[in-house]
């Protein structure tokens, strides 16, 4: 008997991609079909959005602060320390705000979704739900996907603002820059395309976080060990997908806005 069959492995991978695509597609198409679980969506929005606020604020603040600190030494060599605000602003809004917020929320919520849904799967609660005529993709997946997309959008805005504030604190307290100048350069540096790029990404990342978390949860098998495995895989896959999709989205949007 063959220990490893490449054909079987390839089939499993293709099957996994197909299952994920179907689940992801259904999670969005469910929005247009009754019943809509508004209460479940609000509960998830509270868990994902409000629950993630402390870590998003903390990471945003220190990312902005360290960005100002790191860039200041280089900018000083060229006598352009006053551009710190511009650099922090562009980096935070276009890249670091969405990506770091996405990664933080992925670490917190993809794992949470995978473990919650995975536990339900291995204890037959998902089957019980289907047996009672309730569609788990409508009841469990769509509310999480919608809540993740909406809340990540707002969390990214908060993260950007807090990051800029962190950069301002470093610029003002450690670098001796004028706070007013910092905010003016930070604000003037941003073009419409930058803001749009920074706010398109969290929509995609929110979808990735929830759909990946739910997919791994719903495909968990093998008892509690299987739930643990699904949780880990969900965080890894969501984080990698965020970074990969970030590259392609950046390239696409840069082409669109002619950078």
């Amino acid at each position: 008997m063959a220990i490893f069959s490449p054909t079987e492995f390839a089939k499993e991978q293709v099957q996994a991609v197909q299952d994920y695509s179907l689940l992801a597609g259904r999670s969005l198409s469910n929005v247009f079909a009754q019943p809509r679980y508004i209460a479940d969506t609000l509960i998830q929005a509270d868990l994902i959005g409000v629950g993630s606020l402390p870590i998003v604020v903390l990471t945003g603040f220190f990312t902005g602060a360290v960005l100002a600190l790191q860039t200041s030494s280089t900018l000083q060599q060229f006598g352009s320390l006053s551009l710190t605000g511009k650099l922090v602003s562009l980096s935070m809004v276009r890249e670091l705000g969405p990506v770091l917020t996405g990664l933080m929320v992925a670490g917190r919520n993809s794992s949470g979704m995978a473990s919650e849904l995975g536990s339900m799967k291995v204890t037959e609660q998902i089957d019980a739900m289907r047996a009672m005529g309730v569609d788990p993709s409508k009841k469990l997946v769509t509310p999480r996907v919608i809540a993740s997309i909406v809340m990540l959008f707002f969390l990214t805005i908060i993260s950007n603002l807090v990051g800029l504030t962190g950069g301002m604190m470093v610029s003002y307290l450690l670098l001796g820059l004028d706070a007013n100048e910092y905010w003016t350069t930070a604000y003037q540096a941003l073009r419409f395309g930058d803001v749009l790029m920074g706010l398109t990404k969290p929509v995609m990342f929110g979808f990735v976080i929830a759909s990946i978390g739910c997919y791994y949860g719903l495909s968990a098998k093998g008892g509690t060990q299987g739930v643990g495995r699904a949780t880990t895989q969900a965080v890894v896959a969501a984080s990698v997908l965020i970074l990969v999709s970030d590259f392609f989205m950046t390239r696409l949007l840069m082409g669109f806005f002619q950078y």
């Binding site: 289907r130 005529g133 569609d135």
Partner: protein, 270 residues
């Protein structure tokens, strides 16, 4: 899709096969007539639970046709199945209660899905279903706070609250002590004799299976009593189905099973 005829079986399996790494069921065929209870027996791994999951279309067979309540479910899409599943109640092996919901929310789950909230009417129906399983005092408890037997009874209450046309019981007495098992069997007999619900029941306990075939529910005494006084065991409309090596090796009444001379069946019953 035409409505089921009165004489049409509620569940019909025709040459159904399914395999995972190895074949589990091969070309099995049987029918569950309306009002009848069929007890599925066999050693572990013979595909008894699988038959229940196939009947609910939680799994699809590799080959064959399955008809439930007059509708062929084999090629139905998942979305189309939800309406049909609402007419069927299932009691899972490990109860499968939603552990983050209270007993009331668990039992009312289907009704809340329809209305979106707990109304006075739903509250009353939950109370009635819990009274049927004699657990009305557990209303606000969570499943983790209940014993194994109580969880099974709540699962039965959840399955019967909408008075489904078919009930599927997956080892409802598995892992329970004899006294609690008897309570569960009494509830199943009560459901069979009071509401005449068609059902498929998987069990490993021969004693439970024969108790069901030889007892009926006395409404006046409000308890299960042995059949007698002109009522034969055949009148209980409870038949047995024994599985072995991917096939059905016996289908018939309790009396026919006891009279069977097949050496494997004799050994199984001993």
């Amino acid at each position: 899709m035409s409505p089921p005829q009165a004489e049409e079986p509620v569940i019909r399996f025709e040459n159904v096969s399914i395999a995972f790494d190895n074949p589990v069921l091969q070309a099995i065929s049987f029918q569950l007539p309306r009002g009848e209870t069929k007890i599925l027996m066999g050693v572990a791994g013979t595909g008894k639970t699988l038959i229940l999951k196939l009947a609910l279309a939680l799994l699809k067979p590799d080959a064959g046709r399955i008809t439930v309540l007059g509708e062929e479910i084999t090629n139905m899409q998942e979305r189309e199945l939800f309406a049909l599943r609402r007419k069927i109640g299932m009691v899972f092996q490990e109860s499968a209660l939603f552990d983050s919901l209270t007993v009331e929310e668990n039992v009312a789950y289907r009704l809340i899905e329809e209305t979106g909230r707990v109304t006075e009417e739903i509250h009353a129906r939950v109370l009635e279903a819990l009274r049927f399983v004699e657990l009305e005092h557990t209303f606000n408890l969570f499943p983790a706070e209940l014993s194994g037997g109580m969880r099974r009874r709540v699962a039965i209450a959840r399955a019967i609250i909408t008075q489904p046309e078919v009930l599927l019981y997956d080892s409802p007495t598995g892992g329970l002590d004899p006294v609690t098992s008897n309570t569960i069997i009494e509830l199943i007999v009560k459901q069979r004799d009071v509401y005449h619900t068609s059902s498929l029941m998987v069990t490993h306990r021969l004693q439970d299976a024969f108790t069901m075939a030889s007892h009926c529910f006395d409404r006046k005494l409000n308890k299960m009593v042995p059949v007698g006084d002109g009522v034969s065991v055949e009148d209980m409309r409870t038949r047995f189905l024994l599985l072995r090596d991917e096939k059905i090796i016996f289908e018939g009444t309790a009396t026919e099973l006891l009279r069977c001379h097949d050496p494997y069946i004799r050994e199984y019953l001993s």
